[in-house]
């Protein structure tokens, strides 16, 4: 196992704006059916939690971005957003 501090990363993956999201549209319709008429738009996606070791937070961010680009998302159709926290900050 790699040395370093423990970090918690969260990766959010969603379809690019350019890509039609019929799942999001159906979820929005469902919310409207429940009376939540204020909802204008829903985009669906995926959420990943990673625990990893890295020498610094910057290194952890760089590594997780690479992972998101190479596997967790398909950049032809999806975009992603990465958040990294120190393990000590996670309750």
């Amino acid at each position: 196992m790699a040395d370093g501090k423990l970090f918690h990363a969260e990766v959010y993956v969603s379809l690019k704006r350019l890509v039609n999201d019929p799942e999001g549209i159906e979820i929005r319709n469902g919310l409207h059916n429940l009376g939540y008429d204020e909802v204008e738009d829903v985009r669906s996606g995926k959420y990943f939690q990673l625990k990893l070791r890295a020498s610094s937070r910057d290194e952890a961010i760089a590594r997780v971005n690479e992972m998101a680009e190479r596997l967790l998302s398909n950049t032809v159709i999806e975009e992603f957003h990465v958040q990294v926290r120190d393990s000590a900050d996670v309750s």
């Binding site: 379809l15 350019l18 039609n20 019929p22 799942e23 159906e26 596997l71 398909n74 032809v76 159709i77």
Partner: protein, 233 residues
């Protein structure tokens, strides 16, 4: 000519492909387990349909890391014929061997029926024996078949003659009704720039005998034999 059919955990179209080649084409064929690392001795490769690795993450996303895929990529880079059908198409796009991606069907429903596709080009090994404009009747069975590329790549695909099949009605006319999954520009199949790697969502390997409802699939699978005959001669 010897065909190889790659089996991943979760493949379910591999035996259809083996039967289509053995019984339909009457050519030599053998299965290749995904843990193998060589495709030596094969003249054409088939990446079959199914749900490799349970479609975890995205269809085809995990299968591309199987040990055999390095050999498949080398085989493709050498200009040899590779055909991906359904999940095989998804695997080839995830592996970067074909452009684009396959998304959830527009209807959000799994779609299992016969469709018509028009052959758009005869420059690939799997369409070289078919006149462009020919309409083939083939079955589909997928939940994630909506083809997508960004607008710039779409223009590139058109300019480079990389669109191989389009969904049409029985007369070869592109209509929204004939498009079973909301694919961009009615695209049912594409090839790489060189033309030797082809992927499509329909299942030619499930249409190799009139008893199955049709045998148009043999036109695609058998097309590759013409090139092989030329090479041998």
């Amino acid at each position: 000519m010897k065909f190889g059919v790659v089996t991943f955990p979760g493949s379910n179209g591999d035996h259809d492909a083996l039967s289509a080649i053995e019984l339909g084409l009457r050519e030599e064929v053998a299965p290749i387990w995904h843990k193998e690392r060589s495709v030596d001795g094969f003249d054409a490769l088939i990446i079959p349909g199914g749900f490799s690795y349970g479609d975890y993450l995205r269809g085809g996303a995990i299968a591309r890391f199987s040990p055999i895929m390095d050999a498949v990529a080398e085989f493709a880079a050498a200009g040899k014929p590779v055909l991906g059908m359904c999940n095989g198409f998804q695997i080839l796009t995830e592996a970067g061997l074909l452009p684009g991606a396959l998304l959830r069907n527009q209807s959000l429903r799994f779609s299992c029926k016969w469709v018509n596709v028009r052959v758009e080009t005869d420059r690939t090994p799997f369409t070289q024996a078919i006149d462009p404009g020919t309409v083939l009747r083939l079955p589909i069975a997928h939940g994630e078949g909506r083809y997508f590329v960004d607008p710039e790549t779409l223009e590139q695909l058109k300019a480079r003659d990389q669109i191989v099949f389009r969904y049409t009605d029985a007369h070869g006319v592109e209509t929204d009704e004939a498009n079973p999954n909301g694919s961009l520009d009615n695209i049912a199949g594409v090839c790489n720039e060189a033309g030797n790697v082809v992927g499509l969502m329909p299942h030619p390997e499930r249409a190799y005998d009139a008893l199955l409802g049709g045998d148009d699939g043999l036109k695609i699978l058998g097309s590759v034999l013409r090139q092989h005959a030329r090479q041998v001669a």
